[in-house]
Symmetry: C2
Subunit: 586 residues, 2 copies
Amino acid sequence: MKTIELLNEINSPEDIKKLSIEQMNILSDEIRKGILNRVNKIGGHLGPDLGFVEATIALHYVFNSPVDKFVFDVSHQIYPHKIITGRKKGFISENIDELFSITGYSNPTESKHDNFVIGHTSTSVSLATGIAKARDLKNENYNVIAIIGDGSLSGGEAFEGLNNAATLNSNFIVIVNDNEMSIAENHGSLYKNLEELRTSKGTASNNFFKALGYDYTYLEEGNDISSLVETLKKVKDCKKPTVVHIHTLKGKGYKPAETNKEQYHWCMSGFMDNSEYETSETYASITKDFILDKKSKNEPVIAIAAATPGIFEFDSEFRNKLGKNYTDVAIAEEHAVAYTSALAKNGAKPILSLMSSFIQRTYDQLSQDLALNNSPAVILVYWGGISPMDATHTGVFDIPLISNIPNIVYLAPSNKEEYLAMLNYAYDQNEHPVAIRVPFYPLISTGQKDSTDYSVLNKSKTVIKGKDIAIIAVGHFMNIGYEIVEGLKEKGINPTLINPKFLTGIDEALLNDLINDHKLVITLEDGVLDGGYGEKISRFYSNKNIKVLNYGAQKEFTDRIPAEVLYENYHLTKDLILKDIEKNYD
Amino acid sequence: MKTIELLNEINSPEDIKKLSIEQMNILSDEIRKGILNRVNKIGGHLGPDLGFVEATIALHYVFNSPVDKFVFDVSHQIYPHKIITGRKKGFISENIDELFSITGYSNPTESKHDNFVIGHTSTSVSLATGIAKARDLKNENYNVIAIIGDGSLSGGEAFEGLNNAATLNSNFIVIVNDNEMSIAENHGSLYKNLEELRTSKGTASNNFFKALGYDYTYLEEGNDISSLVETLKKVKDCKKPTVVHIHTLKGKGYKPAETNKEQYHWCMSGFMDNSEYETSETYASITKDFILDKKSKNEPVIAIAAATPGIFEFDSEFRNKLGKNYTDVAIAEEHAVAYTSALAKNGAKPILSLMSSFIQRTYDQLSQDLALNNSPAVILVYWGGISPMDATHTGVFDIPLISNIPNIVYLAPSNKEEYLAMLNYAYDQNEHPVAIRVPFYPLISTGQKDSTDYSVLNKSKTVIKGKDIAIIAVGHFMNIGYEIVEGLKEKGINPTLINPKFLTGIDEALLNDLINDHKLVITLEDGVLDGGYGEKISRFYSNKNIKVLNYGAQKEFTDRIPAEVLYENYHLTKDLILKDIEKNYD
């Protein structure tokens, strides 16, 4: 990459310590160029990283990583740290493979300067507390520094950690990187207090951190290296827990990101060309239309998100239209589920949208606050399924997580019309908590209205009535189901194809019928096999004269592995399944 | 019940409103007698309920339930409310069945004055926020009152709720019942702030609630009805969120409970006879010996609990002996797992103990903070299995919850010697997060040391080598396994009996061997079938010529149903299983 000069000399934090303030300022610009280069070429987090460049340089100048230990919350602000700690090729290279060779998240297998694999929010303080306590138990001596963005402070795990960490009678430093933004805008009263603290330059009498027992320092110039170094030197080697609250500019150095903070929080590759996003119909867009229609009829509909409205295409126009009928609870998934349950119990019509990976935060709330109370709330689960994402963000565990909780109805639509019919059912009914697994794939439309009565629970649909072999394909895996049907037809077999629709129970009558003229049943699900839907079918048939083959993901964390490789590994392709059938069918 | 006079006239909150302060004081005494009567006869929560009698009377005097809505956190302080709202028979009766007819927890099926089924902590503010938001969406007008004990404030879900609730521009009242105790003593810096507030009569400049944007009132005399009424009248119909922080005496009115607050938080029946607990060896006691032994060798062992040390027999003597090698993280299960993971990563030897029902709080932390990082921490899961407890506290979901997460090793010992061998393995190794399902049953000892090498993962043990039928019995269900073996022998069949030991994987070699001379495999597990261990066996055999029958709990919330009834329903008895075998074996 051109225009990089000083950065060429930086290969470890040791090299930072040799620089003058002036050189560090030049380095800041070069690091920004590296961040922009990476994100424009392969996508990634932009605004939070651009805002934390000076702070990262100052941290490495003052502290001695890896002896002193940094823990970066959710990793949204970790790129500058990666660049400084020997991984600049992942940022400044012109070569796509080199860029991809470095992950976008904290990752100890890449560097001794990273202490954990981290990709979910609000964990840094909790994790750093354990690091510090182990240090104290072993009578060791070094600084432990938890870095957390203002947005992540709303998460329960962060609060639980702050409450414990403050009782350490030893070194513990929390850097609160306050860029006045979560992923979208911040929500919640904590943020009014941060505003008070910023406005008063840290002198306001209401002080969340002091109330929790922390020593507290405020730094307005969170993008000024000289001030940062001075401030950090004062807390280095402190003997009790302290918070350093620094005010930074999200997106700093790239004007569009400074102006449109939400849009540039995370960018797809090529964002500099300002290419417009597609505006074609999506599952998200038809969900928004559904909600706005209910609002226009003055129904007590309420859309709820937990800090990731962009995932559901809840843009500011949509949020403004909804007004009081929209709540962003902030990064607070547990509360989101309890809140949603209570809204439904008290006669409102809540629709909570969450990503598969983040609904993991809420098992107990799904069980106790929602299911045990049978609250007729609607939960939409996005991005469930096998994907090439980082291990922290894959969504293959939601079927075992949700479908084994009593009372919940978990539905898997395979196309637009089914989705709309399920959404209408879920919204109108008053009997059950209903979750819907929004297909991860591009929208498929049959053009034919689905008039299924979904209040008849666990009723599967026979899409093709055949014999000998039956394929039960969950949700958007109906695609694969159809492919196998074609493949078998070429071999002279006319199989049955079933769309189960319900993940929380099986259609015993239908399954019993299959025994009469079928020898083999195949299940296909876009999720982990262990604890999933297919195992329910295997259990049902386990004492009957019919064979079953379950297809889905293996129980493993997959990290940025191309989807086609995973499909191959899991035999989730037409050819591999047809071969397996040959072996198991005679 | 004798000595009850005024209470005889109280059948609903309306009856409270007619009383004078003097009469309400008399009523307080009578309610206490009712509480003591119930707990002494059938067990239950004592200290927190005794401390909240006056506040409950004052709440019902000032507010108009069920129009105004109360949400009681975790239900530890709900008995007085139950007594006032038409359920006094569950407290004052001499008849055990009448006492049992009323649950110990918030339960809408019992009364319109209860808004949710609640038994886990830190949910009241979150749930009440949903109640209030639905009210506002529907343009209704009444008071919403969340009641939360100081102990529950440390839970992340409570904090997430407080952060959102404070943004309501409408009526919302949080009653903080500060009795200076969690279940055991409080832990965390939040409690230093509560102490500051108590000491300063609410005037301290550090104020956690004000920092979160709440109006704030402190009442020192939280057991004085007159002061309570006066204070509550001031906040009634308030137009913005407000906190009323009242100082109460845990155990008030029963001297032993005032003195030994932890011991009398929850009591078994007959506690008034001061019967000593058994001191025989238990799984908890041998765990404590194990930990103390490591401590005596100056190893960096650390025992961690989340506010329920009593469940694990971590009495104050044990806690004092451990000193800095013990952390009670407070009610903060999410943090507990992250903290434990980081302790292990940084070279300490953490052993976290949690109840099956409460580990539900931590799915995402088990997955992301622990398993994804492969931290070699030890987690002990207590009280997993079918039980006659309330729906909020049964422990039948931990096998699906934990065993379907990659990287975790979940072990199920069937006796003392296996448990100790597994504990030693888990503690010594550095490769995996290891969870152990501590048997729910009384301790069984074989007297023979278990020298299994548990580092060879997923290796089951063939306890009896037979043929035709194989029984795979998980953990303490080996008991049932032996019974079935006996029953089959009487029928001339010599079955195989297998102890799987590992819940997170199957022993494929052993299972393949069984096919040669077995026709039927039976799995027995003390947990829900859906997503559980048996389904893994069914999936493995689903395309092979061997039948499988899975035994375990159905997917349902069971509420105070005797264990023997559940065992009968689930066919978990020798006779029922033998009958099923007859049907499925020829």
